[in-house]
Amino acid sequence: MGTLLSLLTFEQLVDKIAEFHDRARVGESRNGWKKLLEVAKGLAGTASRDNDPSADSAWYLTEVQAQGYQGIGGEQSLSIELDPTPGITVIHGANGSGKSSIADAIETALQGRVREPALEGRGGNVPIWEREHCGRDVQQATVALTLRSGSNSLRLRCCIDRSGTTTEWSARQSSDGADREIDLSATGWLSAVTGYRPVFSYAVVEREVQLARNLQQFLERLLAFGSCFDVLDQEIENRSAAAIEARDRWDAALRDAQARASEVDKERAREDRTQLLPMEWPTADQDPDSWLRRSELTETGIALPEVPATTLDNLRGLAAAVEHELTELREAETSLHAQLAGPLRDLHAEAEILDDVGDLCPVCATEGVPWLDRLGEAVADVIEIQTRQDSCREAIASLRASTVDVLGNVAAVLAGGEQLEKPGWWQATIAPLLDEAQQAGGRITTGLRTAGSAVVAWVNSPDCEEAVLAASAESDHLRQWRHARREAVDDFVTVWRSTADDASQAAVWSSAKTRLATLRTSLRSERANVLGAQTNLKVEALLADVGITLESITVQGRQASLRVIDQQDRDLQLSMLSAGQRNALLLAPMLAVSDGGPFRFLVLDDPVHAFDQVRVDRLAAAVSEVAKARRVLVLTHDERLKEHLLARNANCDVRGVARDPGTGIVTSAVQGEMWKVLLLDALGVLDTAQTQPQGVTLPPYDIVRGLCRQAFDNALRSLVLRAAVRQSRAPDQDLQELDDEDRTRARIRRARQLVASIPAAGTALDDAEQLVGAYLDGWNRSSHGNPPVGAQDIPSLRAEVQTAQQACERITTI
């Protein structure tokens, strides 16, 4: 995760979860990690950082505007421009000059709402120091910021009504010439603002951190989990909640179905009737259709034997057919023709093979007739008898088969669907008959005719009628019972089908939620260690002289602790710290986390609150360190801090703020531009030489001209910087191009190119070059240790400095 507390990305989360997943044993834990991993990967695949200004950007604050906000009056807008380069801007002013209003305005615009009050209450518990964010005499306060990252800019605007409610929060990003609105609440912006807290006010933080849980909240935010973790957390929460809700619905539907089915069973089950088997209830991970089939509750029918009401009629119809066939056969067989059929067929077969049968009929001795032909016709009639025999046999077989089927179903229905032994009457009466009636083919035997007749008789008997009707009644009863059961579970099945996926996953989602808590704890521990180590560096910088160090930061659940020790390694209770030490301890984490986030600025409002002089100096050193990589805006009334910061930083400017108590108008004026400081020093050097009783042998021309050159370069940089901002160019690149030129004249030429689209800037450069043109060679010669040119007496050098002042003034006031 690196040594900096950067906002967690989905890719980092995926890696971390994969580690846990690989270490987890098979079972619920592993399933939970697996599910968490799936979700994180899914989010990583869909997350877009293109429109997220908190991703891969380094935003400098370049302009602050406020009107009607807190102590800043509504009549005139306050506007402060800031350099988009590392360094320090001191905003210096007396108490009540609007410094904290400026800091709060920046914080409000960054997060799109006013700060939550640290305390809330009514009556005697009303917090008396909470700020009113909307100014006294206005209906609406407006704050706006411009931020810049390379050639990209981001414009934030926030409006607040008198109740402190945000009425507008907009963000407009300009990138590569395209301008678009961004919904910052849908990006990681707010997480970044929370995690890196680019605005620190001791007065605010002290009010905020009063209780142990406040400390936990304060530190937890600085662990900078970021929006990716929040999104993952929300996703798991949503899915887990959906799964649990689905499972609850499933459970409720099941309970309802069980109750309704129980009622049905209670109504339908009678001791004298056949019973359905008790229902077996499913679990959510089963398939509803399989369960319906197993429970004989499918809509397409029931697989178990049934005896419909038409069974007896159908059976008796078959019996009548058999009876009819037997009668027909019997009648056909009793005719003389039929009795002679056999011998005649034999005679015809034998005669047919003779060459000459003669014309004397061998039966009736009639002469002169074609007796063989006539015999053939008689034999053909015999086939009809055979056909009737076949029909009869088929009828008996059909009756037999139906009887077997029907009686099988009857037995099964009466036995409640279970495979039981055939009842006694079956064994004793009909079974032998049916066995006898089983004949595959050939001529109908006497036995078959007898068996067929017996089956017919049994089918038409009261025994058969009683058995079939009883079975039919039971079958109808059971069918209706099943239908009632099906109705009882219908709603449950509907719910089951709609919730099956989620309900069956409830346990896994619940496990995933638990794993996410484990992940959070692990990340907290890791990041608290990093935060602790980085914060301690700042604590040491601020409190080393009193031997106070931060041993560790612990954030767990709703608890957090800062372990602070003294020189003898003894624990120090936080309550034992002085106000100044407390301020230092709360400020240190802010300074520590500033490196990781997307902000290249840090606002410190009254950072020396309750500090002694040593602490002010320590803070100046620590802030100067932080300012190497960002612009630090220090709002203070402290003269010592201002002076120390100016002394420590070459890139430090001072602005004074003042507030008109009558109108509330807050104004800001540049006081300590570096070129002015350099030229004042140049004059100071000349004054020192001039005040020598008998003058000096060598006027300090090289020092004075070197300072003039530095001052003019500084003013040039200031011009190029502001022009870059106005032209939406990347300030770093423009400054680098300027720095690449060695000589001042070449730097002026380059500056002219860089500000080309601002005519006023070009004119100012022309004027400035005309003013100092005669001195430039001398300045460069001095800077490079070459012999001087031009006048070197002190009055001439003083005139040179004053001309340099005019030139710098000209190019810094466009």
Binding site: Q613, D681, G684, Q692, P693, Q694, V696, T697, G706, L707
Partner: protein, 100 residues
């Protein structure tokens, strides 16, 4: 006190070296005399040296406040003394005598 004296001596020596006054006057304007450490300094060191000189001037002013009782800091912490000493030593390294 030791650091303050070293700074005063450094400032005086730097001025004398750079301007070569005919007669030594009062050692006032010590802060501006320190700027004479820039005399004959290579161009690429000038910016850092200027920053250091400003720090030295700050130390001079603060130590003066302490010595004259204008500061609440009676017992100067070791860490501050060490830092000031480091600044003075870096300034002494800029002196023409040290450079030579």
């Amino acid at each position: 006190m030791d650091l303050r004296i070293r700074l005063e001596l450094l400032a005086a020596a730097a001025f004398d070296e750079a301007c070569q006054p005919s007669v030594r006057g009062r050692q006032s304007r010590a802060k501006h005399r320190l700027l004479h450490l820039l005399h004959n300094l290579p161009n690429d060191q000038a910016a850092e040296a200027y920053k250091l000189i400003r720090l030295g001037a700050y130390v001079m002013e603060e130590s003066s406040n302490i010595l004259h009782g204008r500061s609440g800091m009676i017992d100067l912490p070791r860490v501050v003394v060490d830092e000031w000493r480091s600044i003075v030593e870096q300034l002494e390294a800029l002196a023409p005598s040290a450079r030579a």
